[in-house]
């Protein structure tokens, strides 16, 4: 069911430790870029680690004369194989930034390349497209913008039939999209959105994955909420995206991942989430969540967390929309299997990628905040203890866990009766020892609710040296709440 197209992503000849080290480096670079809001910069899309070149295909710097010669051979060579080889040599050279620069400044070079791209020689066309793809990887806007004359053709070819070629065109477009607003300003009037809407009906998984990539880059653009997302929402793309996210035997991990991220960029831009809800987004994503939890139990497939993450984000954001109520409390919103699935995913994250725990807990908050039903499910499915086990992970996680517990406690005595007696109080006494003010503050809130609705808990608190635990915060910014809580504990 969860078929995966791509093979192993590990480059040959790399030790595990080396891989880990390199990955940490890449992560650090990306994190910095994200903070500077530069995450979609082209520079970061290609892992430029040296030594990953394929055997015998080292990128050579080509000079003007060589480029011209290859182009001439490709155009006018007598033998087809000779012409193809010339383009292959050009492509290899274009892996090098210097060659790219030389190429774009050489008069007529792009025109020739576009000519080859649109020629009737199929194999030359393919090689020319690969050259263009190589150029699209450049970190320099000038190079990406030099590819502008080709975009109308790339879009035209999206309605063709050769899946390899279409895939290449899509990745090229995706790369060009990232690099500059000038490119996007041209692609939109050229009809990229309708072209993608037509192409998304392709049955080829490789094409779909590439399309998802290109679309995700388009949706991440700075100007997307105003200039791009409205037309995407007005097209048939949302329905197709949701179709490709339906759980079932045809669900493909690579494809689903791309479109889940697309959906995330749309929902978090808050342009018209109600429309997505009318198309059944909540229902589809809810079912997908259940499916993911099932898959996580069965396999240790790398990458499931990469699909879970955007699904959780979309659900969380969509749940905040008013339209949710209007759609009449869809079944999934009352289905306690969603809670079960979420906890299975939380456990998976704890093992595989703890940094994603906050995202899961965010959904848990949005599920429980206004829902007696989900709060009851947490209690009846015996999930308080597992939730408490997450407290030591990090401050962010602690705050979220405590918030969810507050969501339950604030619903009244019937709920608090299930919170105490139990493991909650000892855990809270532990969190009072934390140094983080927000964590302690949230613990105080929870204690107030607990004491209010379950007065015996206050007695137990006192007996377990609760007052001493509170004392250490008497002189801090928490003092108002600390004093109030001391009063409640002592006098009820």
């Amino acid at each position: 069911m969860w078929s995966r197209r791509r093979g192993s992503l590990m480059p040959a000849g790399c030790g595990l430790e080396e891989l880990r080290r390199r990955r940490r480096e890449r992560e650090a670079v990306l994190r910095k870029a994200r903070r500077e809001q530069q995450l979609i910069s082209k520079r970061l899309l290609r892992d430029d680690a040296p030594g990953e070149a394929e055997e015998g295909c080292v990128a050579m710097i080509l000079g003007e004369a060589e480029i011209q010669q290859f182009l001439r051979l490709a155009q006018r060579g007598t033998e087809e194989k000779e012409r193809e080889r010339a383009l292959v040599s050009l492509r290899r050279g274009l892996q090098h930034p210097e060659t790219q620069q030389t190429f774009i400044w050489l008069e007529g070079s792009m025109r020739t390349l576009v000519g080859l791209l649109t020629s009737n020689q199929a194999l030359l066309q393919l090689e020319a497209a690969r050259c263009l793809h190589e150029l699209s990887h450049s970190e320099q806007s000038a190079v990406a913008e030099a590819c502008l004359p080709a975009t109308s053709y790339l879009l035209t070819y999206l309605s063709g039939h050769s899946s390899d070629f279409i895939e290449l065109c899509l990745y090229t477009l995706g790369n060009l999209i990232v690099e500059s607003e000038a490119v996007r300003r041209q692609l939109l009037p050229q009809g990229i959105v309708p072209a993608l809407a037509a192409c998304i009906q392709s049955p080829h998984l490789t094409v779909l994955e590439a399309l998802g990539y290109a679309l995700s880059q388009l949706l991440q653009a700075k100007e997307a909420p105003e200039k791009i997302i409205p037309s995407v929402l007005a097209s048939t793309l949302p329905q197709h995206m949701l179709r490709l996210l339906q759980p079932g035997p045809k669900l493909n991990l690579g494809v689903a991942m791309e479109f889940a991220w697309c959906l995330h960029y749309i929902t978090c831009s808050q342009v018209n989430n109600d429309l997505l809800i009318t198309h059944g987004a909540l229902s589809t994503l809810g079912l997908l969540l259940l499916d993911l939890a099932g898959a996580v139990q069965r396999t240790e497939d790398a990458g499931l967390e990469l699909l879970a993450c955007p699904v959780l984000r979309c659900l969380s954001n969509l749940l905040t929309e008013a339209a949710v109520e209007a759609v009449g409390g869809q079944m999934q919103l009352r289905d306690e299997r969603v809670v079960a699935a979420l906890f299975i995913l939380l456990e998976f994250f704890l093992w595989k990628q703890p940094s994603l725990l906050p995202e899961g807990l965010w959904l848990l908050n949005n599920l429980t905040a206004n829902s007696p039903s989900f709060c009851t499910s947490l209690l009846s499915l015996d999930l308080i203890q597992p939730l408490l086990q997450l407290l030591p992970v990090s401050n962010v996680v602690s705050i979220l866990v405590l918030t969810v517990l507050c969501n339950i406690a604030e619903k009244g005595p019937a709920y608090c009766q299930h919170l105490w007696p139990g493991p909650l109080l000892p855990s809270l006494l532990d969190t009072l020892a934390f140094s983080d003010t927000e964590v302690v503050g949230q613990s105080l809130e929870l204690l107030q609710l607990l004491f209010l609705y379950q007065p015996e808990a206050a007695q137990a608190f006192l007996q377990q040296s609760g007052l001493q635990a509170l004392e250490r915060h008497e002189e801090t910014q928490l003092q108002d709440r600390v004093h109030a809580l001391q009063q409640i504990a002592l006098h009820g």
Binding site: R6, L9, L30, R34, Q37, L39, L44, R46, E54, Q75, R76, G77, E79, E80, S119, A122, R130, P149, S152, T156, S159, G160, S162, S163, D164, Q186, P189, Q190, G191, V193, Y213, M257, C268, G294, G303, E305, L306, C309, R313, D335, E336, R337, A340, E347, L350, S355, N366, T368, N370, P372, S373, L381, D382, L383, Q389, E410, P413, Y415, Q442, E445
Partner: protein, 253 residues
């Protein structure tokens, strides 16, 4: 994290939920100095909350794109020839053949043998180049449709359409799939133009003419190829075609 053993069974069970416990709030809850309120939280695009997940996503993309840009691996097969009449291209890789077939033989005009990148462009071509009724109608109404997917505009002349493509859709002035119709007699199938690769190479460079001619192999080579296409290759209907609807066929003289 230890999940209760019944949880996995619950996931696999039927949809539904237990009756919710009764809600009963006390006004003192969350009263000053306390401030808790259960509320839905939403995060906008650039929020730092998304940092971790975004970084992981990007790491994944880096791997994917490095793979995509890598040297394409083409499993080689014993040489075979394209079986379309008049075409003798030889191939040793299935991907190459697939692309060749779709580029040259899939959307081919049966009248003039030109190949087009898509069914849509082929339809427009047949209509505008080979349908005499089109010529008559276009004198009275706007018949030249915009080539961009999703744009429903129509124009009186092919020049007006080109202007629209250039100004509204930012298309190149010399867009190769929008050539004005040459004045030849209509609806008579053209003889397949057999040209050598070299002449073609020069051809597209200079003239604004026929972008996608048909088969490029000289006639003399036609008989010498005998290799069969591997039987697993099947592209469905793909022969050249003319008018595709009966409605048009009736009007075609």
């Amino acid at each position: 994290m230890q999940l209760p053993p019944a949880l996995h069974a619950r996931l696999a069970g039927a949809p539904g939920a237990a009756e919710p416990l009764p809600v009963e709030r006390n006004p003192k809850a969350g009263a000053a100095p306390f401030r808790f309120m259960a509320r839905l939280v939403r995060f906008p695009r650039e929020h730092e909350f998304f940092e971790e997940g975004d970084v992981q996503r990007h790491l994944y993309l880096q791997d994917v794109l490095t793979q995509v840009a890598g040297e394409p691996e083409k499993p080689r097969v014993p040489e075979f020839t394209c079986q379309v009449a008049g075409c003798c291209q030889v191939f040793d890789a299935l991907e190459d053949y697939e692309h060749h077939y779709h580029t040259l033989h899939r959307n081919v005009c049966s009248f003039c043998k030109r190949a087009f990148p898509s069914g849509h462009l082929l339809d427009v071509h047949i209509l505008e180049w080979h349908d005499s009724l089109f010529q008559i109608l276009s004198e009275r109404q706007d018949m030249y449709q915009c080539l961009v997917e999703g744009c429903t505009e129509k124009f009186k002349t092919s020049k007006d359409r080109k202007d629209h493509l250039v100004n509204r859709h930012l298309y190149p002035v010399d867009f190769r799939f929008d050539k004005p119709r040459k004045t030849r007699s209509l609806a008579t199938p053209q003889v397949t133009v057999q040209v050598s690769a070299e002449a073609l190479g020069a051809d597209w460079e200079q003239s604004e003419g026929d972008a996608m001619e048909g088969c490029s192999e000289p006639a003399s080579e036609r008989r010498t190829c005998g290799h069969r296409i591997p039987p697993i290759i099947c592209f469905g209907q793909g022969a050249s075609r003319g008018f595709k609807s009966t409605k048009k066929r009736n009007k075609h003289q």
